[in-house]
Each structure stands twice: as C-alpha cells, then as structure tokens.
C-alpha cells in the first residue's frame, strides 16, 4: 500500500511538472533524453523509476494516407482521420535508449481468441540502422533502398499459444488432437500456457514498407510494453533499445532520429492504416554531437508557401492528391500528399522534387493497379525508377514548394 501511495504522489508531481513546462516551450520535433543510470532493456516498464524526471513533449502523429489500400471498412472508418497528439519522453545511458509514449484512445482494442476481423491497438518505434547526412535520412515509411531502418512493434494481444517467435509449433496442437486425458491433458495445457508470451512484440528490418522483414535471430536487443489506463482512456507504451547490438550501432551519436507510429484497432488499423510521426530529433543530453541532426529536424521551411502553392497546384495536382478537397483524377495515380507535410522532413521533400529517383520505395503492390505504374523496375538489376520526372531544379522553387507541402496535413484532434 505504501508503495502505491508513493507512486501516486510521484505521478502527481510528474503531472504537475509537465504543466509547468508546456510543449511549446521546446522546439518542435525535439525530444531531450535525460541521462539515467540503469535501463532494463528486456523488461522495460512504464512504472520504472527512470521515467521519474523525464520531461515529456508533444509529438503529433498524422494519418498514413500515402497509399490507399483495399479494406472497405477500414477506408470508411479512417476517411476523416485527424492527427493524434502523443506525449513522448526519453531517457538514455551508455548502453541503451528508452522512450515512453502515451496517447488518448477511447477504445481499448485487444486481439484475443478466435477472431477474423478484430485488430489490436499498438505502437512502434523506428530508428535508422545508421545515418551520416541528416539531409538523407531513410524514408519515413519504413526506410528506403540503401537506407534501412529498424522497426520495433508491439500490439495489444492476449496470451495465445502459438510459436510466439519461439518456433515452438508442436504445442499449438489442439488439446483434442492430443491423445491425452486427465492429468496428462492438464500438464499439456500448463506447458502451452507457459509458452505463451504476453504480447505480439517484434523487430523488423526494412528498406521500404514492402521489404519489411521480421528479425528472428535476436540481433536487435530491445524490449517493449504497453498498458491501458481505463480511467483516463490512455495507452502508455515504453520501448527500450540497446544502442549497440548486432543489428545496429547507434552508440556513436549525440542525437538520434526516431519516429513513432500508433495503431487504433477500433478503426481497423494495422499495417498500412495507422498514424505516424515525422523523424524526431532525440538529443542525448550531456553527450557531444548530433547538433546538425537537431538543427535539420527542427528547422522551419525557408521558402514562400504561397508561391509554392501556385507551383505545386500547377505541376503536381494532376497526379497527386493534395488534400481531401484537391483530389487527383484517380486515388491510385500517384502517392497522395494529403499528410505529406505531417510526416515528411524538409530535406526528403526537396530531394524528391529535385530527383524523384533518389528515394523510390517499394511501397505499393504494382499488380493491384496495373494501369498506374508509380515506378518501373529493371528486370536485371531490380533497380526502381520513378515514373515522375524531375519537376524543379532551382533552389528557390524547390524551397517554396517544400514550404507549401509542409502545410499539407490533417488537423490535429483536440
């Protein structure tokens, strides 16, 4: 009981501390990671003491609208999605970095039992495998060719006895398919339950959505957990990742780019239908380096958005949807730019306008819409070439266009 009261007081103090430092006091897209002594990567928990002094900032996650997928119910439910504000805090030490993210979700969706059309809530954290030029970060939608990312994902699922990543399929067998009765059957069920892991927690390596591949060799050392506060209707998720493991070495950086994604199961959210943030700069407080990254990710676009609008509407709008009011002729013609300002960086937008082939993500099933080739693939090399021609070359036009594109994003939900 004592500990409960104590933690309630701490929680109260923490809330009070947030109130004193409103999110607007810090630069947009910047998270300051506090140094802590000990991070329990494998069993990270929202109630760990490491979060006590960590300050949270508001991070906005925008609905993924680049690609329109084919689930009728999901498309209807997510048609008018607004952006979600999450509270994110970060801590780090010499060997690991950890994040706490909390967001409001009035409906707790857990995937449990024998279901076909139920989707769990969940969240993910993405980091590049490596990065040198802050202007050439991986594409926000799960990386791009030559710029891989690690994605850490957890979903709200109940214990179920499947391989659970253990590869232990023999214990999936239905009890009635076992020649076991009485005590034997009870033992079998016991064993099966012990094998059941709590959550659907996985790591992926990816160079673009389609290429995403699960890492099952435990090369990525990480831990995740999410808990639902039924009273305040909020999820709190934590994720910890070792800075150096055989999947990536992030130990040399003073600041890291990370991004988050959130899934709302009640709206049929899953891969392809979610909310995601842009690349955020995580400054490891007290550690040298990373200033260029912080500067790049927190910079406001320099161009003239008004001039950019005129250009973009004239040059891009026939293929790209710009907003719900400015639809392209077909939703499958080209990636929708509805929320591009929400989740893309200035540098990515500039790079793609200038050289559409710089980042061509295999993000789209070409067989689904044969009339609309977003890119061509060289049969021999597998190299993707965008069907979009370079649109602008002078810096002024590009900067103006970027300034306008950065305004293309959904309204933030209150």
């Amino acid at each position: 009981m004592k500990t409960i009261i104590k933690s309630l007081i701490i929680a109260g103090l923490a809330t009070a501390a947030y109130a004193k430092t409103p999110a607007s006091a810090t630069a947009e897209n910047l998270i300051n990671a506090q140094r802590v002594s000990n991070i329990n990567v494998a069993n990270i928990s929202p109630s760990d003491s490491i979060w006590r002094n960590a300050k949270s900032v508001s991070v906005v996650l925008y609905p993924q609208t680049t690609i329109k997928l084919n689930d009728a119910k999901a498309n209807t439910a997510n048609k008018d999605n607004k952006a979600i504000t999450a509270q994110v805090s970060a801590v780090y030490n010499n060997s690991a970095v950890a994040f706490k993210i909390s967001w409001s979700d009035p409906t707790q969706s857990v995937q449990s039992g024998n279901v076909s059309d139920v989707y769990p809530d969940g969240f993910a954290m993405q980091v590049p495998v490596s990065f040198s030029d802050p202007k050439k970060l991986p594409y926000i939608g799960m990386g791009s060719e030559g710029r891989p990312v690690l994605v850490h994902l957890t979903k709200a699922t109940n214990v179920h006895y499947e391989p659970n990543g253990n590869g232990d399929v023999e214990h999936q067998v239905s009890p009635h398919n076992k020649n076991a009765f009485g005590a034997d059957l009870a033992n079998y069920k016991d064993k099966v339950n012990k094998l059941g892991k709590n959550a659907y927690t996985r790591a992926f390596i990816s160079e673009g959505f389609r290429s995403m591949t699960e890492l099952k060799d435990e090369s990525d050392k990480f831990g995740m957990k999410m808990t639902y506060d039924a009273k305040n209707k909020r999820w709190t998720g934590v994720v910890a990742k070792q800075l150096r493991d055989s999947a990536a070495d992030l130990s040399k950086y003073g600041a890291l780019p990370v991004s988050f994604a959130i899934w709302d199961g009640s709206k049929y959210n899953r891969g392809g239908v979610k909310s995601l943030s842009t690349w955020l700069a995580v400054k490891l407080q007290g550690k040298a380096g990373g200033d260029a990254l912080v500067k790049e990710l927190t910079a406001k676009p320099q161009g003239d958005a008004k001039a950019g609008q005129a250009q973009v509407e004239a040059m891009c709008a026939s293929c790209h949807t710009l907003s719900p009011a400015k639809q392209a002729a077909s939703p499958f013609m080209a990636p929708s730019l509805n929320n591009i300002g929400g989740y893309s960086t200035n540098a990515y937008l500039a790079e793609s306008i200038k050289d559409p082939n710089a980042v061509v993500v295999a993000g789209y099933n070409r067989n689904a819409h044969k009339g609309f080739a977003w890119y061509n693939v060289d049969a021999k090399t597998g190299k993707r070439t965008s069907t979009m021609p370079p649109m602008m070359s002078d810096d002024k036009s590009i900067n103006d266009a970027v300034a306008y594109l950065k305004t293309l994003k959904a309204e933030v939900a209150k």
Binding site: I67, N70, S116, Y200
Partner: protein, 373 residues
C-alpha cells in the same frame, strides 16, 4: 503468371454434396492450430448464402480497368460460423451414477451460423419449380490473384512450377488485405498465429505425384486435376478442346484455375396440377450465366450434343471423359517433373518441397514438428 499452371475441373452434374472432400481437407489440414473454423474446401448449396455468408457480395477482385476493388473481411460468428467443441473433460470426470448423463455432453457455444446452415434449401417453390445444386469450392489458384495483389508485404506468391498460390508464413504479418482482395473469400485469418492461411492445393502430395486430398477422396469422381498445357490430359480436353469446363465468376478478373462443368440436366418444372411442363428447365439459365458467364450456353449445348451422339453411336470422347473411368486418367500429375525441378534448384532431399518459402523464410528458425511432445 507462372510457367505452368495446375488446374482442377469439377463436374457439377455429379456432385452429390456428400462433403467427403470437405472432410478429407479438414482432417488433412484444418482441424487444428487456429484453422478450426476454416474450410479450405467447402461444398455449398447454390442458390444459398454460401461460405462465408454472402461471399459474392463481399468485394475484392478487379474492375474493368484492372484496379483491385475494395472488399470486406468476414466475421467469424456472423459469416464463417464458430466451430464448437463438446465437453470431453466433463465426460471424463462426470459422475454418471448421480447425474443424468445427457447433461454432461454439451457444446461449448451456441452457434448462430455455420457452413451449410442453409444446406439443400435452394430456391423456388416445392414441388413446382424448386431447385438447387452443389457448388464445391477450393482456392482457385488464380493467374491474377486478388490476394497476392492486395498484400502490401509480398507475402503471397505464385509458384512458377505449377501456379500454386501460397502464403509465405514468414513474411505474412496478418494485415488481412488479402481476405478483402480475394473475391472468393478463400483465404482466411488464423488468429492463433496472426497470419493468413489458405488452400495449398495439397502441394506436398502433388509434388509426389498424388492428387489433392479432396480430389482423391471424391466419391462422385467429379474432380480432374492436371496441367493446363498437358494436351493429352483430361483437364486440357475439358477446358480447351471441348470448352465445357468454365471458371467461376470470371467477371472478378482474377483468372481462376478451377473450372466447372455446369449443371446440364435438371428435372422439368411442374404445373399447378403437378404435371410436367415439357421443355422447361428448373435451373434458370440466368443463374448459370451469372456464375459461369455467357460461355455456359455453348458448354451445355456441347454436353447435350455429345450425350445424344453417345446414345446414338455409342461413342463420345467427352462422355468417356466425364464418366471418369480411371483415377490415373483423371489425375495427370507427375512426380518426376517436380523431382527435375528440385534437382535443377539443387534440392537434394527427395521429400523436400520444391519451394520452402511456404514454411520457412530467411530469418525463420528451423521448425521441427513433433506430433506427440
């Protein structure tokens, strides 16, 4: 498109709805591991709600422009039906002396819907013009699969060697767009492993030269299996030579590779006095046209003409094919072909599947299956 394509022909005139195929498939593949509710092979009564319920209205497939259409993912309780279990545990521990034994054996849920809930109901008024026929359905292993096109992860692939469409269980993450994309709703979500699963055309059997279990066990001998490019094969002859075997709902644009001999013979209708209306047909041609397209008229004409020819002359190759005398003629499979493919790929284990993407991906630990732990 694959280099070669295996296909199945089902003769609807001979299907008696006995569900032996369904049971063969279920015991072989779907009675365990989260697949309990799935029927990779089912036999539904047409007209009827089908399995899953009203599958023809759930979208998927392609429109005329070749764009994948939106679809709906069916619900287990409402559309597939929840498989119930009996209280075996209670029986084992039940005190039969003190209690009424009847109470011990009960289902663990009260179903409200299931496959064949409306079996043999059909349409029309008994006895004047009621009708139905059985429609056995497996995955169509389409040439242009809706499921494959819907997958944002490249987790579904079509084998070059025989066109069998499979889910790469390593890549699949259970998004379920494939279910929305398949107009036949023949791909299912396994909630126990959070992945999609479907009919695999019994590829481990096929690679050994054996037909799929559903075809092998069919008591009506309605199922022919073979490669579409095997001009000596019965499948080729029924589909291409006589053009009497037609794909189901080809208007969905997926180019299915299961073909059906349409119902050709049905009793005539009765008038108000219960007398036969000469020349009438109980199964409306319009229905058959919906299912099999305009080509159904020609197919039925050919079958009737060959039937007459056989009656008059005693000879008709088509009638001999449809009678299906020998399994070895009906199932033109070739273990040597697969062995050659395996050899060319450098697979030395003669029992290994030619394509192991189905079970094991690049980052998957090796799986050893033990039936009894």
């Amino acid at each position: 498109m694959s280099k070669r394509q295996l296909a199945m022909v089902m003769d609807l005139n001979k299907c008696i709805g006995c569900q032996t195929c369904t049971v063969a498939c279920k015991t072989q593949w779907t009675n365990r591991n989260g697949r309990e509710y799935m029927y990779w092979n089912n036999v539904e009564t047409y007209p009827g709600e089908g399995y899953p319920k009203k599958w023809m209205e759930l979208g998927g497939g392609f429109d005329a422009a070749g764009d994948l259409k939106e679809g709906v993912i069916p619900n287990i309780e409402a559309d597939y039906g929840v498989p119930w279990d009996f209280s075996y545990d209670e029986i084992a521990t039940f005190n039969f002396r003190e209690n009424n034994p009847a109470a011990a054996f009960h289902a663990d849920s009260t179903p409200t819907w299931g496959p064949n809930w409306d079996e043999d109901e059909g349409a029309g008024n008994f006895p004047s013009d009621n009708y139905f026929f059985y429609l056995p359905r497996i995955c169509n292993h389409c040439t242009n699969p809706g499921c494959l096109s819907a997958c944002p992860r490249d987790a579904i692939f079509k084998r070059d060697e025989d066109g069998v469409v499979l889910v790469d269980l390593d890549r699949c993450q259970g998004y379920r767009y494939c279910i929305a994309g398949c107009p036949y709703k023949k791909i299912y979500f396994n909630s126990k492993i959070s992945k999609s699963e479907k009919c695999i055309l019994c590829f481990p059997r096929i690679e050994q030269g054996l037909p799929p279990a559903c075809a092998q066990q069919c008591v009506g001998r309605i199922r022919f299996v073979g490669f579409l490019d095997d001009v000596e094969g019965q499948v080729y002859k029924l589909v291409h030579k006589y053009k009497v075997a037609l794909p189901l709902r080809s208007d969905y644009g997926t180019q299915p590779n299961v073909y059906y001999i349409p119902p050709t013979e049905a009793p005539a209708k009765f008038d108000a006095q219960g007398k036969i209306i000469e020349g009438s047909q109980r199964v409306p041609m319009q229905e058959l046209e919906t299912l099999f397209g305009k080509a159904v008229h020609g197919a039925i004409k050919t079958i009737k003409a060959e039937k007459d020819k056989r009656a008059k002359t005693g000879e008709s190759e088509l009638m001999d094919l449809l009678i299906a005398y020998h399994h070895e003629d009906m199932f033109r499979l070739d273990a040597n072909y697969y062995q050659d493919v395996a050899k060319a790929k450098g697979v030395t284990n003669p029992l290994a599947p030619i394509d192991n993407r189905y079970a094991k991906g690049k980052f998957t630990n090796e799986i050893h299956f033990k039936a009894h732990a």
